[in-house]
């Protein structure tokens, strides 16, 4: 690939997903990035450089959120891509698909208030040492939206301890001052977790929707850009090395 060719990032579409268009649009607000739609029945990843699994309600959230999508034909190539170090980001339902696929630790259960929660949250970046937060500083507070019913992250205590030691807790719910506090975590998720990565830091899932906060002129603000920008920068630097 030459420096002039666009970076190609795949947006995976399962039946019932509804933020594929937003995600496609968000990616293409970055110069030199081309978003490629990947259909759930596709047998390969069309040689994309990175993957984003967008949010929605794949297969109607039947059985468990993400449980059916996880067995779509596109998933084995994604699992192989991740195993080779490829960058994969899952947003909301995409996060649920990644935990169901075993690409991320833990699980996502019903919000503690039993309600679909749709609101802005404050996220604190807990580590800048991932390909998805490299453009952040640890402690940065970002304001973006959540909109889900099953975002209550849970994981076995011994796994949580390992994740903390290994820098896998990427973003937490905090108050506007950037502090963990009562009322700041709208889902009841364990340890106020909003997003995690895998052991090798190349797979990242988060419940909030950065793709809805990419344009400063619009109501959503632009705080979500930093996750995509970090991913894009990481892919470009890998390209330079190659």
């Amino acid at each position: 690939m030459t420096a002039a060719s666009p970076l190609r990032i795949g947006v995976v579409i399962f039946p019932g997903v509804n933020t594929d268009g937003d995600t496609h649009h968000a990616l293409e607000t970055f110069p030199g990035v081309s978003a490629e739609c990947l259909w759930h029945k596709d047998p390969d990843l069309k040689d994309v450089d990175g993957i984003v699994i967008p949010g929605g309600f794949s297969y109607g959230d039947y059985l468990r959120c993400g449980a059916i999508a996880r067995f779509s034909p596109i998933m084995q190539p994604i699992i192989d891509f991740a195993a080779e170090g490829g960058l994969v980001m899952g947003i909301c339902n995409g996060f649920q698909v990644l935990v169901e696929a075993g690409l991320l630790p833990g699980g996502l259960i019903r919000n503690v208030g039993l309600k679909f929660v749709c609101r802005y949250v404050n996220l604190r970046v807990e580590t800048a040492d991932t390909p998805f937060t490299s453009r952040c500083d640890e402690g940065d507070v970002l304001r973006i939206v959540i909109k889900h019913n099953e975002g209550n992250y849970t994981v076995a205590p011994e796994t949580l301890a390992r994740m903390r030691d290994n820098g896998q807790i990427v973003v937490r719910y905090v108050n506007a001052a950037g502090e963990r506090a009562e009322g700041a975590n709208p889902t009841g998720s364990l340890d106020d977790i909003a997003g995690v990565c895998n052991e090798t830091h190349n797979v990242f899932g988060l419940m909030p929707h950065p793709e809805n906060s990419v344009e400063s002129g619009l109501a959503g603000g632009a705080d979500g850009r930093v996750f995509f920008q970090s991913m894009i920068d990481t892919l470009r630097s890998a390209e330079v090395r190659a």
Binding site: L63, R64, A67, F71, V99, E100, G106, G107, I109, R110, N111, V112, G113, L114, N152, T154, V155, A156, G188
Partner: protein, 82 residues
């Protein structure tokens, strides 16, 4: 063979639905209720599994792979001839 699979929230993991029901029962006059857990039942039939042992192995694999998520759920099942 008829199979009934019971899927429940894993022991030790909070069940927000069960907790809500547990809080509402005393309001109806039912005292002393604890440990409410809400799960689901999945009924299915299988043919050609061969022995009962083979059927159990097959259903167990179904549960582990799809019907339950062992990270957040426990499961049991019953198999009856039918």
């Amino acid at each position: 063979m008829n199979v009934r699979v019971f899927v429940t929230p894993k022991q030790g993991i909070l069940d927000p639905q069960g907790a809500a029901v547990e809080r509402s029962l005393p309001n109806l006059g039912f005292q002393g209720v604890s440990g409410v857990r809400i799960g689901k039942i999945i009924d299915l039939s299988i043919e050609g599994a061969g022995s009962a042992e083979a059927a159990r192995a097959q259903v167990d694999e179904m549960c582990r792979k799809l019907l339950a998520n062992p990270i957040i759920e426990d499961y049991t099942f019953e198999i009856t001839e039918g």
